[in-house]
């Protein structure tokens, strides 16, 4: 169990001003009204917060929050393993 989902949720509620009630694992980024500019900014913020670089194809408008979390968890595990 990691804090990845909590970090994502915190970025969405603070930076993107999305009400907490709208956020759940099965929601897609498009459903949260993130456009392409927002997705690029979202990826940069996550990269800074989690110190792993999100692949663009794993954070598209049809990606769910659960999928982003899964991808980031995998990257974070990899990054720990190679340290």
């Amino acid at each position: 169990m990691t804090d990845t989902y909590d970090v994502i949720r915190s970025v969405l509620t603070t930076t993107f001003q999305i009400p907490d009630a709208e956020i759940s694992p099965e929601r897609t980024l498009q459903q949260l009204e993130l456009d392409s500019l927002a997705l690029a900014e979202f990826a940069l913020i996550l990269q800074e917060r989690l110190e792993v670089r999100v692949d663009e194809e794993h954070a598209t408008r049809t990606t769910t929050l659960a999928q982003v979390t899964e991808h980031l968890d995998a990257l974070r595990a990899q990054s720990v393993a190679t340290q």
């Binding site: 603070t14 930076t15 001003q17 927002a38 690029a40 900014e41």
Partner: protein
Amino acid sequence: MTPRTAVAVTGLGLVTPGGEGVDATWDAVCAGEGTAAPDPALAGLPVDFSGRVPLTEDELDRRVGRRSWRMGRSAKLAVVAAREAVHDAGLRPADWDGARVATILGCGMGCVDKWEEQGRRLEERGPDFVSPLAIPLVLPNLGTGEVSIDLGARGIGLAPATACASGATALALARDLLAAGLCDVAVAGGVEAGVSRLSTTGFWRMGALSERGTDPARASRPFAADRDGFVVAEGAGVLVLERAADAAARGRPPRALLAGCGSTSDAHHPTAPSPDGRAAEAALRTALAEAGLDPLDVDHVNAHGTSTPLNDATEAALIARVLPHRPSVTAAKGVLGHSLGAAGGIEAALTVLTLQHRRVPPIANLEAPAPGLDLDCVVKAPRDQEVRAAVSHSFGFGGHNVVLALTRP
């Protein structure tokens, strides 16, 4: 010159170092106390104080809502002030024909603090760490753009840049667009959030800033003998303008009339005012002629009054020469500092309030005008007086002179 058709000012919106909203700002300027304070963003610099809007970024974001993530501070201030102005005018974006609504918000700089931050990221961490928002954050027209989106205003949009006269230029242009029938409503004024480490240091290197860092709230002192420069500040001042007949047709009494505008260029020097003040005088005389006013009709001057030695001396000479009957003079920059491109919009709004309330706010930090400046400056406390006609002066680097003549309806 034939008098021009006056346009009605039907709404005001202000976000300034004096507070959030028209009432808070009016109360602050009437209190006559400087608002500048040490600025953590400027820590360690030769000038480390400024006039900030008393809202944190988080508070601003909550007011702006879902689109705030992509906005620089100037766009956020513009959105908040424009919403207040439109609400004050009794207009509802849901009801109006957005194609006939113009958005004209002057801005001198754009969010240069974000630009500097992104520049540091590029050099220190590489291209991948530059935000995709770098460009939208710095563009000076994005206040206009975000306001038009927020209000569904699909008519002409402009962000005139005449440095410290930008807000006044925007209002003069908006008047022209209304007079030409190119829009029915204009959301117009100025916005700026240009306080940054580099911009402040740049103004300091020019010798334009007050160095009274030990007492920031008393640093801005327009027309005082010991004035030593301006205090950099931020804010937004937005007015809703309509043709007077349209406002009357929808039963909306104007707060005031924008009766005349004069815009000229010194054609002299990029940053120093022309010593003869001829172009500034022409702007003042044009504004009065358009308004059908004789100079003796002017009851009050809302001066540009930056608190720099040169500006205030040139402006005082202009007022004494053209308006020798000594109308009352105030200068809001004593309280609010100099919000650059926003100042002309904010000060036009304050002039409207002076006309409405028949009350002239005092100039902060002033006992009496410097010897040799022949002005009737309002000091220490607000002065209640009859004000039927007033002018608001704005002058900007580049040699821009803009004078707005405002009258009671």
